[in-house]
Subunit: 115 residues, 2 copies
Amino acid sequence: MNRIRRHEKLEKINLSEKFGKLPNGDYAVGLIAKMSDYDFKIVKFKGDFVRHSHSGTDEMFIILEGALAMNFRDQEVEVHAGEMIVIPKGVEHKPSSIDGYKALLIEPEGVPNTR
Amino acid sequence: MNRIRRHEKLEKINLSEKFGKLPNGDYAVGLIAKMSDYDFKIVKFKGDFVRHSHSGTDEMFIILEGALAMNFRDQEVEVHAGEMIVIPKGVEHKPSSIDGYKALLIEPEGVPNTR
């Protein structure tokens, strides 16, 4: 293989490899890519997250492994691997997962993922 | 199950189900979600696409099944299921796949996916 790689941005991103670099524990988030002004983050989580909302932006969850229950004020939606959900801006949500999940998160840059 | 579903936007999206609704053939694109001003599209493709570029925007490919060779002017990057690649705006690229691939495409709304 004698490929010329002048543009570092043209490297592909392997999701398993990126998850392997996250710290141990039930919760971790890692920034893996940027596209225009959007951040692509990987997240692993097990347990009950805090109920929160993002006032300025929608947030996309693409579930890669496991499953979570996304609790809204008046409903709960179970989201499994191979499924995705858009959390509209301003909508309170609380992700919970007994056995844990891994997901790809997409949101504008600068949104904090505080617990 | 007696869940209240007042907000249709809070429905989850199942990727396999969405792929099942695409027309038969080697190439099809379907819009499955919107987040702020970005489109989330599913695409299936087998063969040689045309070399093209998008002058105004980056484009994200997340490969869900199969593999493709992304041909740039001075390099080729093979991208497999579980991997993703950002095509920077203005960069010419030609996706090719002998056995076909399925992917999630993310780009600003209004970008044409012409062949």
